[in-house]
């Protein structure tokens, strides 16, 4: 099959003109790069879909450090996130560090709400990761649309397109983004490598993607699967009947730095039951 007349017309003409104004997704392609014929491609039938994906985090459901560690490790091993190990003095090597989800103290995750009078709360562990904001600053500043917001709310990275300018890292108010300061491959243990998922190359930015590769095949995000029941609730915030929406509508929750107008979609349930 060569590129026949029909296909040629389709690619150069109709698809680009219609695509330009028709859908958000097509607007990510410049008109001179029409891409694949839209009639030939489709999402998986079993894919999980939503209008606005969000997550509720209830740290009271995490009974031990091990519960937290299991979640972090599940994410990092499934996504081939490298581990740069420790410094000679035993502290964590933060020079090249890459992380998608990690444990932070309350006073670090919510600095403007911390109070010295409640030492227990200040030091309490919280899982933090990308907030998949409604109005993401990282997407706004990216000069190549390498990071972009999908119509289901996930803030996604296109590692193929990222030029490594790190403007998004300066823009993100949550420190959710990591940069590949060097080739990550040697720091992904061979036996832990997930051969169904790519690694990254040096010089690109990465972060939590809400496990878009798992949503596409009908699976929940890896962290949700590995968390204790009710610890991480994932779902469609725009669906009034969803578990996450009912939880957020009825319980007291806080978000990280909502005053910045970024519209974070990760809700932290306060006061466990």
């Amino acid at each position: 099959m060569s590129m026949d007349r029909r296909q040629f017309l389709k690619i150069t003409g109709i698809s680009s003109i219609l695509g330009l104004g028709a859908s958000v997704a097509s607007a990510t392609h410049p008109i001179w790069m029409p891409g694949v014929d839209p009639d030939l491609v489709s999402p998986n039938a079993q894919a999980l879909t939503a209008k606005r994906w969000g997550m509720a985090v209830d740290m009271t459901k995490f009974r031990s450090e091990a519960d937290i560690k299991r979640v972090v490790e599940a994410c990092h091993s499934i996504h081939n996130v490298p581990d740069f190990g420790n410094n000679p003095d035993g502290t964590k090597n933060i020079k090249d560090e890459i992380k998608w989800i990690w444990k932070a103290k309350f006073k670090q995750a919510f600095p403007e709400q911390a109070t010295e009078l409640n030492e227990h709360l200040e030091e309490a562990p919280f899982l933090v990761f990308c907030n998949h904001c409604d109005n993401p600053a990282c997407v706004r500043v990216c000069p190549t649309k390498a990071t972009f917001k999908r119509d289901d709310g996930a803030v996604m990275m296109d590692m193929h397109r990222c030029i490594g300018c790190r403007f998004c890292m300066a823009a993100c108010p949550y420190g959710a983004r990591s940069f590949n300061w060097r080739d990550p491959r040697p720091f992904i243990k061979k036996e832990k490598q997930n051969r169904k998922y790519p690694t990254r190359t040096k010089g690109v930015v990465e972060k939590c993607t809400f496990c878009t590769e798992r949503l596409a095949v009908g699976q929940m995000p890896a962290c949700v699967e590995k968390a204790p029941p009710g610890g991480l609730v994932f779902g469609d915030l725009d669906d009034p009947k969803s578990a996450i929406r009912r939880l957020v509508s009825t319980r007291y929750t806080i978000r990280r730095k909502p005053e910045l107008g970024t519209g974070p979609n990760i809700y932290y349930v306060i006061g466990g039951r």
């Binding site: 600053a137 949550y174 010089g203």
Partner: protein, 390 residues
């Protein structure tokens, strides 16, 4: 006219040879960084921009400052600047070139550079910064070359160049405003999130750029038969003085807002830079050096006798230039990243490699600048005594 850069004294060639050698050394270090990745710099996920972006920001200011010669000469008919306006335009060319090289050095995937054009994103300030910088480089090349070429022939420059000269004025303002917008529009970076950022940038640019130009003009006068004249130097000195006063005033305004309001996020960066935070005092020495030099320079410039004496004037300008270089080329960037978004102090310091790449890029800039100045000066020497009205 290019051939004028190819003939010169032994001293000229030794200087060019030194700069070429430094460029090669810098490039060799860059190749190492290119192969390994940016991990060879002192940067981390907490301080993700450093010396390279600082130098870029500082040099955009130097480039924009050419407008301080263009405005008086072309808009206010201040004839005295006739001889040195070309020095300003050529300084702008080499400064923009260095800006672009620093951006390239800072990119994680420099081979994908063209993605900025392939996937144009008008919502991104960096996209605009790229456009205005490229445009400014083109404008200055065009204007500088055409006016100098006319000078060489002893005729007035063609009429069609005038619109480009006038365009270069708002364009110069725009390059530094857009560069300030890189920082001033980011939620959560309190140190940068200030409406006065662009104004501060322009003030420091109009102080630092002309100060450098003044030093350069005096060096050129000492080494060649080209004499810019006493009056333009004094006029430049006055520009430097007023701009530096505005710059220090603006910085004081930042201090007031941060500390009178007492909002913790606004004060943290200042604490880190000028006093140290959680035991980390890496930046304190540099920042106080900058502050003291600023006060010294400004005091010297305010006293007419000191300003009129070219020897003391140069000392003041050097002090001022170093002060601004530290403040804008280094402190400004680091202050935005420390403490980080989780209010932890994760310090940054450039590595040896990073420093050598930086030296290399400055050497390339100086190499280009020397060649361009050589051309300008040779033309001027030939046409000495002939005054051409532009």
């Amino acid at each position: 006219m290019l051939e004028k850069a190819l003939v010169g004294s032994k001293r000229y060639w030794m200087w060019m040879g030194l700069l070429a050698a430094l460029s090669v050394v810098g490039f060799a270090f860059y190749l190492k960084q290119f192969t390994y990745g940016l991990g060879l710099t002192g940067l981390s996920r907490d301080v993700s921009w450093g010396l390279y972006i600082g130098q870029f920001t500082f040099l955009v200011g130097v480039a924009a400052s050419a407008v301080m010669l263009v405005i008086p000469y072309y808009l206010h008919d201040f004839k005295k600047f006739g001889k040195i306006v070309i020095l300003g335009e050529f300084l702008a060319i080499s400064a923009v070139l260095m800006c672009m090289l620093f951006i390239m050095a800072d990119m994680g995937q420099p081979m994908r550079f063209m993605n900025i054009m392939l996937h144009p994103t008008p919502g991104s300030v960096m996209f605009w910064d790229f456009l205005v910088l490229a445009g400014y480089l083109g404008l200055n090349l065009l204007v500088g070359w055409v006016t100098l070429g006319a000078d060489k022939k002893g005729i007035a420059p063609p009429k069609w160049i005038k619109p480009f000269i006038y365009l270069s004025i708002p364009w110069a303002i725009s390059i530094h405003t857009v560069t300030a917008f890189l920082y001033a529009g980011l939620p959560g970076r309190h140190f940068w999130l200030t409406a006065i950022m662009a104004a501060r940038f322009l003030a420091s640019a109009f102080a630092g750029g002309p100060a450098l130009l003044l030093i350069l003009a005096l060096i050129v006068r000492k080494l060649t038969k080209f004499d810019p004249g006493k009056e333009p130097i004094q006029a430049l000195a006055k520009i430097v003085t007023y701009a530096m006063f505005a710059n220090v005033f603006f910085l004081a305004l930042e201090f007031f807002t941060a500390f009178y309001s007492g909002i913790p996020g606004h004060t943290h960066a200042f604490h880190y830079l000028y006093h140290g935070l959680e035991g980390h005092t890496e930046m304190v020495g540099m920042m106080w050096t900058s502050s003291i030099l600023a006060v010294v320079a400004l005091t010297m410039l305010f006293v007419p006798q000191v300003r009129r004496n070219e020897f003391t004037l140069v000392i003041a300008c050097v002090a001022l230039f170093i002060s601004l270089w530290i403040d804008k080329g280094f402190g400004l960037i680091i202050g935005g990243f420390v403490p980080n978004m989780m209010e932890q102090v994760r310090p940054y310091w450039p590595t040896f490699l990073e420093t050598m790449v930086t030296v290399g890029i400055w050497a390339i800039g100086l190499l280009v600048l020397t060649a361009l100045y050589k051309i300008a000066v040779s033309v001027r020497e030939e046409t000495a005594g002939v005054e051409i009205d532009h």
